[in-house]
């Protein structure tokens, strides 16, 4: 069923709609949360708390929402807040930010020849060495399929910064990579 419809039913106090949304997004949110905090029990708690708030404050929720972006953003905020609270009393350097911890892997079942393996490995390495924020923007835009606007909502930064973040990530990688790409392309084209 359509997210928007479920959302407005939830706002009207429909428990069924609430449960459906929960079931639809719980797995996805757990996976996303684990990129920010490795302890899955904490992540699960945070997600449940987000839903508790959604239900308790359903009257004050916005009507028109992209539900997925809203949920991702709420879970992120919750984990950040928890992280901050845990670090206020200990003497850590980064108190205001959390790091995206995810490492992209290689889809090796689809790679046939060796030059390609090399290129893919190299790109993978470069992607995984991106700054955490760029990497997270890429994850949200690419993997979660959010629009730039929605990515900026989740990361809580403005539209232009998000655009720059994504642009920079890709620009930087391409700058470091052009030679190998060229070789692969040539070899691929010659086989076509």
């Amino acid at each position: 069923m359509d997210d928007c419809l479920l959302w407005s039913q939830l706002k009207a106090g429909d428990e069924e709609a609430f449960s459906l949304l929960f079931e639809k997004y719980y797995g996805l949110l757990v996976n996303y949360g684990k990129t920010l905090n490795t302890e899955s029990e904490i992540v699960k708690d945070c997600i449940q708390d987000v839903f508790v708030d959604i239900w308790n404050y359903r009257n004050t929720l916005n009507e028109a929402r992209v539900v997925k972006a809203y949920l991702l953003s709420s879970v992120r905020k919750r984990i950040v807040r928890l992280h901050e609270r845990n670090h206020i009393f200990s003497n850590t350097i980064n108190i205001d930010s959390i790091d995206f911890l995810y490492e992209y892997s290689i889809e090796d079942r689809l790679i046939a020849d060796e030059t390609m393996v090399k290129s893919v490995k190299k790109i993978n390495q470069l992607i995984n060495s991106l700054p955490a924020r760029q990497s997270e923007a890429l994850y949200l835009r690419y993997h979660q399929g959010l629009t730039v606007d929605q990515v900026s909502e989740v990361l809580n930064i403005n539209y232009q910064s998000t655009k720059n973040l994504l642009h920079r990530a890709i620009l930087q990688l391409r700058k470091e990579f052009p030679l190998t790409v060229l070789i692969t392309i040539l070899s691929v084209l010659s086989t076509v």
Binding site: Q48, N56, T92, L110, I111, L189
Partner: protein, 366 residues
């Protein structure tokens, strides 16, 4: 599908879910392939985008239906619990809230008036933080004496460490940079190596040089970090993301200084140290001595070095009695100064260094 005809950038492909599905699951394979081959520029981009998609696979760990149901149940329980709490809160426990509010206000105002350097604490980076974050093994030297202490590093750089200061550094500098950590105050003379920049981490400030001399004053409890440049070029930057870009880094030349104000997290640049009384006062003997020697007896040069570095130099006074040197020894660490003196005296002169004690072995000058 129509919009793909306007695709011109790698991003256009990467972020198109139907393109992703084609690469990963061969969805709509035939018509994507045909479309790709229409245009060679397009084929190149498609090929690149394909590599990217293969390189940024995300492995999701599926959450079972049972687990989801369990979590949903838990969530409903939490909702119930929170509603019961709010009910109680709004009726019987109002007086507790009031009391709590008063108490919090009292504590806050107490904190405001007594702990005025708590903001300093929040933003600071300590020597301890820095050293703990460094994975390579470090040697630590602490100066508990009342006099400056000479420290030489594996790259022949030398540091005069002031009392109540400490420094951590690796036994040898492997890799592409030289990195040391300072708490307190030190005068650095760094041997030149353009391929291996030298970094000093001190509180929130990073000082980067290739080979120069400068003083850093970075005591843990003081409100500022000062970097004073004696010779050469130095880049000083803040060790955290600052919103204010102009406050992030400062370039310094000879006789310039930067002061990092820790509470507000910004740099102040001082263009001429000699004009700034308080800063000039914090320079030491070593910065005020001249190492430009013109036809000077070598024992006098040794005396200057002893004064500057607070070391003792033993040398065969008789054999070197009539040796005079003209040489320029500014802007180089002590080991290099000694090396140049020995080389100038002749091939049969060399030096040995044991901590603060230096022995010159010589048969006289040529």
């Amino acid at each position: 599908m129509q919009k793909r005809n306007s695709y011109k950038k790698l991003e256009d492909f990467l972020f198109d879910p139907s393109f992703q599905r084609w690469v990963k699951f061969e969805d709509d394979s035939a018509q994507w392939e045909e479309w790709t081959l229409e245009n060679i520029e397009r084929a190149k981009l498609v090929e690149e985008a394909r590599l990217w998609i293969l390189a940024m696979n995300v492995k999701e760990i599926p959450v079972s239906n049972k687990e989801t149901q369990l979590a949903l149940q838990k969530t409903w329980e939490k909702i119930k619990l929170s509603n019961e709490k709010t009910l109680k809160n709004t009726s019987r426990y109002i007086w507790i809230r009031t009391a709590a509010a008063v108490l919090i206000f009292a504590i806050a105002s107490f904190a405001y008036f007594t702990l005025d350097d708590s903001t300093l604490l929040k933003n600071t980076i300590t020597y301890q933080d820095l050293v703990e974050n460094e994975s390579n093994g470090l040697i630590e030297q602490v100066n508990n004496t009342d006099n400056p202490q000479l420290i030489t590093l594996s790259d022949a750089s030398s540091i005069l460490l002031q009392p109540k200061s400490k420094i951590s550094y690796p036994k040898t500098f492997n890799g592409r940079e030289r990195k040391v950590f300072l708490s307190g105050e030190g005068f650095f003379e760094i041997s030149k190596d353009l391929n291996k920049p030298f970094y000093v981490y001190s509180n929130e400030v990073i000082t980067k040089v290739y080979g120069t001399s400068f003083r850093i004053i970075a005591y843990p409890k003081q409100p500022n970090v000062d970097v004073l440049v004696r010779t050469g070029k130095v880049k000083v930057s803040s060790n955290r993301d600052s919103k204010n870009a102009s406050a992030k880094e400062v370039f310094l030349l000879q006789n310039q200084a930067a002061r990092f104000v820790r509470k507000e997290q910004f740099f102040e640049k001082i263009l001429d140290i000699t004009q700034d009384k308080s800063l000039f006062a914090s320079t030491n003997t070593i910065e005020k001595l001249s190492f430009e020697f013109k036809d000077i007896p070598v024992h006098q040069i040794f005396k200057t070095l002893e004064q500057a570095y607070l070391v003792t130099i033993d040398f065969p006074a008789g054999k070197l009695e009539d040796c005079y040197l003209t040489t320029s020894l500014s802007d180089m660490p002590l080991p290099e100064k000694l090396k140049i003196i020995c080389e100038s005296l002749g091939y049969n002169t060399r030096y040995e260094m044991n901590g603060n004690n230096i022995i010159i072995i010589s048969n006289g000058c040529d």
